[in-house]
């Protein structure tokens, strides 16, 4: 009697675990397939171009606004915070380091995940439930190469460029607050920034950006590609794409930082 109860209990606990593991396996296969397909022809350059424009060019306003306010608020916060130690002069380098290492890549990626990850999941998901993906296959076109590969390559290429632009805008935001609100000498501020500028700050930011770009595209595509069950399924796919991409971005942000700066 007790044995049966235990068995029932275990079975109940085991079911979601098995489901989770099989989903993890499915996802790993998807990632492997994505990477393999990025490296083998045919390539659909027209689709790649469209995705680059979508992810890159049309995300510029969002990324610009995000990073300029991030830079501005860091200048303000660090000034008032460092005033306690009499270290107000460090504002320029604090802005530089925090924008290039953290704020520009992470905040841009989160904004792009909301904008692009959702759009990818919704578009591919709708194509799945309306049989457009099957239609691609019957027209002798590998849907993975036609839909997923261009999006992943675009994410990898475009996110670093966006973050590079975000770096410049964010630092400019800090400069504006520093000079016009906090009364720094413009020449001194620029000098301090340039003096503290280390290549490693920029490169880690760009490495992060590339990883985040990959995460955004792969979560958007995966959730869209595997969606089922009509409008509701597409809705769920969209939500999952954004939430999972955002969480993974924050986790990988820590991991990459640890890899570069843990010494």
């Amino acid at each position: 009697m007790i044995l049966i109860k235990i068995q029932k209990f275990l079975r109940r606990q085991g079911k979601p675990l098995v489901a989770f593991i099989s989903r993890l396996g499915e996802f790993s296969l998807f990632v492997a397939q994505a990477i393999y397909n990025c490296l083998t022809p045919p390539f659909y350059f027209r689709n790649l171009g469209r995705q680059i424009a979508d992810i890159g060019f049309y995300s510029l306003p969002v990324v610009g606004l995000t990073t300029i306010f991030a830079g501005m608020v860091i200048a303000l916060q660090s000034y008032s915070g460092f005033a306690r130690f009499g270290a107000e002069s460090a504002v320029a380098s604090v802005v530089l380091i925090s924008v290039t290492r953290e704020l520009a890549p992470v905040l841009s990626a989160l904004m792009v995940a909301g904008r692009i990850g959702a759009a990818m999941a919704a578009e591919i998901g709708t194509m799945r439930v309306t049989e457009q993906i099957d239609a691609l296959t019957t027209l002798s076109t590998n849907p993975f190469k036609y839909l997923v590969t261009p999006r992943i390559l675009a994410g990898l290429i475009v996110m670093p460029l966006l973050v590079l632009i975000g770096d410049v805008i964010g630092i400019f935001g800090g400069y504006v607050v520093g000079v016009y609100k906090l009364g720094f000498n413009p020449a001194n501020y620029v000098n301090a920034t340039l003096q503290d500028l280390q290549p490693i700050d920029i490169t880690t930011g760009l490495v992060k950006a590339a990883v985040f770009g990959f995460i955004i595209s792969i979560m958007g595509c995966y959730n869209g590609y595997k969606s089922k069950g009509g409008a509701q399924g597409v809705g769920t796919a969209t939500t999952n794409a954004v939430v999972s991409a955002s969480i993974l971005i924050l986790i990988f942000n820590y991991i990459i930082t640890e890899l570069f700066f843990s010494k």
Partner: protein, 255 residues
């Protein structure tokens, strides 16, 4: 495999989890004939087509197309297989990010190496063939009515001159007159290409019109097959019940 069979299906089994959908299908489709598979909703008609196309992998059995095995082929062979197939999807499945002519000329542009101008000319020619005016070519699929979308879907299916064409419920969701127009177009285009056609439907008027032969699918098995004439004379209880649309008989509707 006999010379005359375009597609040969033997002992085909496919299930999803515990639900058995195809339970040992044996079916031959002869070269150049139009076979219609009838059966109620959820009897596995679409699954059958997807297995033949290699979109779904059956657990057991064999499918030969032109004498070559379809079950378990890799991506490259699949592309080769699809280059001789065309399909009209139930909902049209037109690519909504592309214009009508880009839909019709998709295979020509992506795989057959046509340049833009000649692909568009060819698309307009095929569109005319299915009764659509050239000015439809630049519209987007979402601007079209249901019947027009079906026509564009048909145009896309026949544009690359396939040897085998699949029709998934070609008349579902259309009014009786438009259904008949689509039926005529199907007959015309299949005969015009000399293609082999496999249609799945539960619309008996459509089945009678386009079929050379009819097969009935029930509970994952082919329970009857024969010509349209034989269908009208048969005493097979399943077929009789299905064509009369009666709720009484051996076919039990699971509610």
């Amino acid at each position: 495999m006999s010379e005359e069979n375009k597609i040969e299906i033997r002992n085909l089994h496919k299930s999803f989890g515990k639900k058995i959908v195809l339970d040992g299908i044996d079916l031959d489709i002869r070269k150049g004939e139009s076979l219609v598979v009838i059966g109620g909703s959820g009897t596995g008609k679409s699954v059958l087509i997807k297995c033949i196309q290699g979109l779904l992998r059956p657990e057991e059995g064999s499918i030969l197309v032109d004498g070559e095995e379809v079950v378990g082929i890799d991506e490259e062979q699949k592309e080769k297989l699809h280059s001789k197939m065309g399909m009209l999807f139930q909902g049209g499945a037109l690519f909504d990010s592309l214009s009508v002519w880009e839909n019709v000329a998709f295979d020509l542009l992506e795989n057959k190496g046509y340049d833009k101008r000649s692909a568009k000319n060819e698309a307009i020619r095929v569109l005319r063939q299915v009764g659509l005016a050239p000015d439809v070519a630049d519209l987007s699929p979402s601007e079209l009515s249901g019947g027009m979308q079906k026509r564009v879907g048909l145009a896309r299916a026949i544009a690359s001159k396939p040897e085998i064409i699949f029709f998934d419920e070609p008349t579902t969701g259309l009014d009786p007159i438009m259904s008949d127009v689509i039926n005529d177009l199907i007959i015309e285009s299949v005969k015009g290409l000399g293609a082999t056609a496999l249609t799945i439907t539960h619309d008996m008027a459509s089945a009678r019109k386009i079929a050379d032969r009819v097969a009935m699918l029930y509970k994952g098995k082919i329970v009857w097959q024969g010509t349209v004439k034989e269908m009208d004379k048969t005493t097979n209880e399943y077929v009789v019940q299905f064509i009369n649309g009666s709720s009484q008989g051996p076919i039990k509707v699971e509610v």
